[in-house]
Each structure stands twice: as C-alpha cells, then as structure tokens.
C-alpha cells in the first residue's frame, strides 16, 4: 500500500465515522516524507476529535526516521 492509498483509505474511514486507529507497521521497513505526512494528517484529525491513534510493531529503521524527525514525540508507539 502506498502513502497515497493509505491517505485515501484514511479519508474514507474518517468520513465513515471511525476515529481511533492502530497501524500495524511490522512489515514496513521504510517510510518517506509523504508517508510521514499522511500519519501527521491523521494525528492532527485524531487530536481534533479528541480520540487516539497508535502505531505498533515499528521496525528499527522506521523508528530511527520517527526519532530523527521528532515524530516519536507526537505519535504514540508501542
């Protein structure tokens, strides 16, 4: 699934009234800035709704990217 597809999927889910998400990242070994943007958008919408989202199974390389970009500070991870 590309970041564009994920963005569209999330749009649909938000429109359907879903507001809490868990992302399984165990098979993700790289995330680009476009992917980060989708996560950021989702986090902002979740914040606005007052609900929660979190990411599970983050691989070391993706964790490093989250750390460098400071995303670790705003997104809940397990």
């Amino acid at each position: 699934m590309t970041s564009i597809e994920l963005g569209k999927e999330l749009d649909t889910l938000f429109q359907n009234g879903d507001n809490s998400f868990v992302f399984d990242f165990s098979e993700i070994d790289y995330i680009s800035s476009a992917g980060l943007r989708v996560l950021l958008t989702a986090q902002k919408r979740v914040n606005a709704l007052g609900t929660k989202m979190k990411i599970t199974g983050v691989t070391p390389l993706v964790k490093e990217i989250f750390d460098i970009t400071g995303f670790s500070a705003i997104i809940e991870m397990e």
């Binding site: 800035s33 980060l36 943007r37 950021l40 958008t41 460098i68 970009t69 400071g70 995303f71 500070a73």
Partner: protein, 571 residues
C-alpha cells in the same frame, strides 16, 4: 508502381502454373488412356480380320501348299485373293498400288508408306514339328521383296524374321488351338509391328495353319503425337485465355488492396482524411471498414495528443522558468563571501523533478554572525517548491531579526502551521556561527544529523537535540545546542536525497556509506569533497532514476581573522 506489378504478376504466375499443371496432368492421363484404347482397338480389329480371313480359307486346300511349285494352283490363288482383300479392305487401296509403293526406290519413302499403312502383310503359316513355314502370301511372287515363298521356313534369314520369331510362341499357341490372338509388339527396321493370328481349320476340324496379319504400330504412335500436339495447342489457347482472365481478375482483386495501400501510406505520412469506399462484400471490405474506423479514431487521438503535448510543453517550459527562479533563490556564487577569510562554503542542490523541495541558505546576520541552514520539504515537485519558498523566506526574515535559532524554529513552525491544509512539513537544520569566536549554536527540526570533522580527525555525527518537524503541529518546543568550532573544523549538512538514494536492488545509500565517503575524501577542498560525494552516490545508484532532491552544504571554519594572519598588522 513496382509493388503494384508485383502482386498482379504473382497472381498471374500462380494461374499460369496452375493451368500448365492441370493441362499437363489431364493431357498425360488422356494420352495414356487413348493410347491404351487405340491399342486394344487395333488388337481387336486385327484378331477379327485374321478370324474372318481364316474362316474363308479352306484348310484342306492349305494343306496342299507346301512348296513354291504349288503357288500356281487354283487353291493357292483363291487363298491369296482372300488375303489380298484383307490388305485392300484395311487400307482402302488396291494391293498393286500398295506393292508399287512398297517397291519404291527411296528407302525413306518406303518407310513412310509402311507407317501410313494399317495392315501391310497378310499370309498363312503352318507348322511341322517345332518349325513354322510360310504358306500363301497376299503378295504375288512377282513382288520379290514382299513375297514369302510357300514352304519356306520362318527362320533367321533376315532380321525381320528374327524379330518375328519372338512371336513364335504365340503362333504355336494359335496352332495348338488356343484361339485367335494378337502378338505382343515386335520391332524391325521398318518400325513396330503386331501380328494378328487365327487358326485355319480343315474339313476334319483339325488346325491346318494360321492366318497372319501384320499391322504397323507406327500409326498408333502417330495418333499419340497428334494428340500431344492437340494438347499443346489447347494448353497454349488456355494459357492465353487464363492470362487475360488473370489480368482482369488480379486487377479486380488488387484494386481495393491498392486503394487500401494508398490509404495506409497516407496515414503513414500523417494524412488521416483519406476514407475508402470499397464495396466488395468480402474480407477486403471488412478491412477497409476497419481502416476507416481506425483512421477516424487515429485522427481524434492525434488531435487529442497534440493538445496534450502542447499543454505538456507549456507546463514544461513554465517549470523550466520555475527551476531557474528556484536556483536563483539559492546562493550559487562561490566563494560567497570572498572578503570573509574566516569561512569557506560550498553547496549544491539538484532537484529530482524540474523543481524541488530542498533548499540551503547562508548569510551574515551581522558582522560576525553567519546563519547557515538546510531544509527539506515533504514531497517533491511544484507543491514542495512553493512550500520551500515560503519556508526559506520565513527563516531568513526571522534570522535577520537576530533571534536565537530555537526562536527562529518556534516562530517559523507556528507560521507554517497556519492554513497548512495539506499537512506539508519541513525538516530543517539551522546553525548560527559566530565567526569571531567559533561558537556555533544550532537547532535541528527533524532533519538528518549533520556530520562534523574536527581538524585532522574523522567526520562524525553532530549530536542534536531532537525536535519535531516544522509545520507539523503548532506550539511545538524547539531547543538548541552549542559547539565551539576550531580552526579547520568542517560541518557537512545534507538532505535525505543522499542517504536514501536507492540503487536498482532497492537498497539505500545509507548513513554509513555517506560517513565512509566523507572520510575517504576528507582531505579534499570543499568543492571537490561535495563533488566526490555526489559522484559516489551516482555510482551507487547506477542507472536507477534519482528519487529525491539532493542537497549538500559544507562549511569550513578557518578561525578568527586575526588567527589567519601570521603577523597581525596592529602589532
């Protein structure tokens, strides 16, 4: 024109070959059939002739004729008259006339006459023991050449007799009562002969001898030749008809094809307006209808394509302008501050698309403070480039206000968050270096860790406090760090276009390779160092397309101005 002839010629050739093969086959078959029929017919006729003659001959009389002396008897003459009638009836000529012709002086003429005659000889034969003797001959004794004397043995006197003897067995068969038959063909100097033989009975019902009737086979061959000649003429006539037919037919077949050909050629040269009107009611019409539909669609398609191409070209030319505007926004003249000996800088930015989201910048805030920054907007292309312009402007404006780096980050972040519906964000590294003291304060908002190289040592990662990206979320906290630079220290900042450059196997260039490349080339000058790193990345990705903007800046601190002078001027 050449091709036009080719198709027609081919069709004609096919027709002609077909006719020759068919006519040849039919001719051969009919020739064989006719030859056989003729042969059978001749055999039948000869057997009939021999039987009819044999019935007229009195076997008792024949038994009396055993020597030349008996040739003058009434019995001999009566039998001879019967045999004469056989020859005369078969050839519709009197025997005297035939005899005259056969005794002509010219051998060739005689041969020719023999070929034309149907029945040439008629005679009787009788046997004694295992020998065969001549009895009565149709030709009178006066015709010495053709007369066979009564009582003379059919022996190997002449070549003709020798050949005739081959038919002996068959004559014996008749003599022993096996009924009339016609011998197999036998050959002599005058041609090929068959002998019809029928038994002559005496009053006791015993076989007294046989009637022999010789016919030339030459006329059968003659018939065959006539037939062949006829066939050739027929074939020639057929060929002429077929050629005319082929020309007309092939023209009829090729005409629509040639029209199609012209139409297709037209399309090849860009003329889509040719429409074909072919009503042959066959596959060619289907083809022509398909052609018409195709050229109609092609015309529409090409028109659409031209419009799209024009639009694309317009956008491309606009992007080219945008690219040059973007490039001109970045400081590109090196050295940028020739009068400032404290620092050396070299930088480069290479967008993956026409315009990119990366940028670098450096400028003096005041006499001593140099601001240097690098940033990477999320995404690529025009949206990233537009966001990059805003970010660059905001950073520079706030830096020039003299704000500390963490405040620059905080303010720019909040301003970028305003009305940022697209959730674009920027990772940035901003450093302010006091060239007088070497003190560098810096802040990193989610950007790749810079590398620093102390004079004489290796490049290593510059530790930064982690802060969130710019434009991501409002009211985020940004912090700064400090580091004292010594003379000869170098700072290398870059964007992830370097470390995340991908080769054909989908593997990243990685931080480790970057660090290694920098250390291998650490003794090079600023410009050479950056070019060496760039070439290293190029070699690594090989022919895989550049996936992200690539930006690098290297700064060398040369120490305070006073330090650079061996003998300070004020002393």
């Amino acid at each position: 024109m050449y091709k036009r002839n080719k198709l027609q010629t081919k069709l004609m050739l096919y027709f002609i070959v077909l006719v020759i093969v068919v006519a040849g086959a039919a001719g051969t078959v009919s020739r064989i059939a006719q030859y056989r029929a003729l042969n059978d017919h001749v055999a039948d006729s000869m057997a009939t002739l021999a039987v009819l003659a044999a019935k007229q001959i009195n076997g008792d009389d024949l038994a009396e004729i055993k020597d030349a002396g008996s040739e003058s008897t009434a019995a001999y003459l009566e039998i001879q008259a019967t045999l004469r009638k056989v020859i005369e009836a078969a050839n519709q000529k009197s025997l005297d006339e035939i005899s005259g012709l056969l005794n002509g002086k010219d051998d060739k003429e005689v041969k020719r006459v023999k070929k034309r005659l149907k029945v040439v000889y008629a005679y009787t034969l009788y046997s004694e023991g295992n020998k065969i003797f001549y009895g009565v001959d149709a030709y009178p004794a006066s015709d010495e050449k053709n007369h066979s004397t009564a009582g003379s043995e059919v022996a190997a006197k002449t070549k003709a007799d020798q050949d005739f003897l081959k038919a002996n067995d068959q004559i014996f068969e008749v003599l022993s009562g096996k009924g009339p038959l016609v011998s197999d063909p036998h050959e002599d100097e005058y041609g090929i002969w068959r002998t019809g033989a029928a038994a002559i009975y005496d009053s006791n019902g015993e076989i007294a001898g046989v009637v022999g009737v010789d016919a030339s086979m030459e006329f059968i061959n003659e018939e065959g030749r006539m037939l062949t000649l006829n066939l050739i003429w027929n074939t020639v006539f057929l060929l002429v008809v077929v050629i005319i037919f082929a020309v007309v037919l092939s023209r009829k077949i090729t005409k629509p094809i040639l029209a199609l050909n012209e139409g297709v050629k037209g399309i090849g040269s860009g003329n889509f307006d040719v429409r074909l009107d072919i009503c042959t009611g066959d596959e060619i019409q289907d083809l022509s209808d398909a052609y018409n539909t195709m050229s109609e669609r092609l015309k529409t398609y090409i028109m659409d394509l031209s419009e799209t191409t024009a639009a694309k070209e317009r956008i491309e030319s606009e992007l080219k302008v945008a690219n040059s505007i973007q490039q001109s926004m970045l400081p590109r003249i090196f050295p940028p501050f020739p009068e400032r000996k404290e620092i050396s800088i070299y930088a480069m930015m290479e967008p993956a698309k026409e315009v990119g989201g990366d940028f670098y910048d450096f400028f003096f805030i005041d006499q001593n403070k140099l601001c240097i920054c690098i940033a990477d907007v999320s995404g690529k292309g025009v949206p990233a480039a537009l966001f990059m312009v805003i970010t660059k402007t905001l950073i520079k404006n706030h830096a020039l206000l003299g704000l500390p780096v963490e405040d620059i980050m905080t303010t720019v972040n909040n301003m970028l968050c305003d009305e940022n519906d697209e959730s674009m964000f920027v990772t940035a590294f901003i450093a302010i270096l006091d060239v007088g003291t070497g003190k560098m304060t810096y802040s990193n908002s989610g950007h790749n860790l810079p590398l620093i190289c102390n004079s004489g040592a290796e490049f290593d990662w510059l530790s930064c406090k982690k802060c969130f990206v710019l434009g991501g979320m409002e009211n985020m906290k940004y912090t700064s760090s400090e580091r004292m630079l010594q003379k000869g220290d170098r700072l290398f900042i870059y964007t992830d276009g370097i470390t995340e450059a991908m080769n054909n196997e989908g593997q990243l260039y990685s931080d480790l390779r970057l660090k290694a490349a920098l250390n291998v080339n650490k003794n090079l000058g600023e410009e050479a160092l950056i070019k060496a790193v760039r070439n290293g990345v190029k070699e690594y990705v090989n022919d895989a397309p550049q996936s992200d903007d690539i930006t690098m800046v290297v700064l060398r601190y040369n120490g305070r101005e006073e330090e650079q002078l061996e003998k300070p001027s004020f002393i």
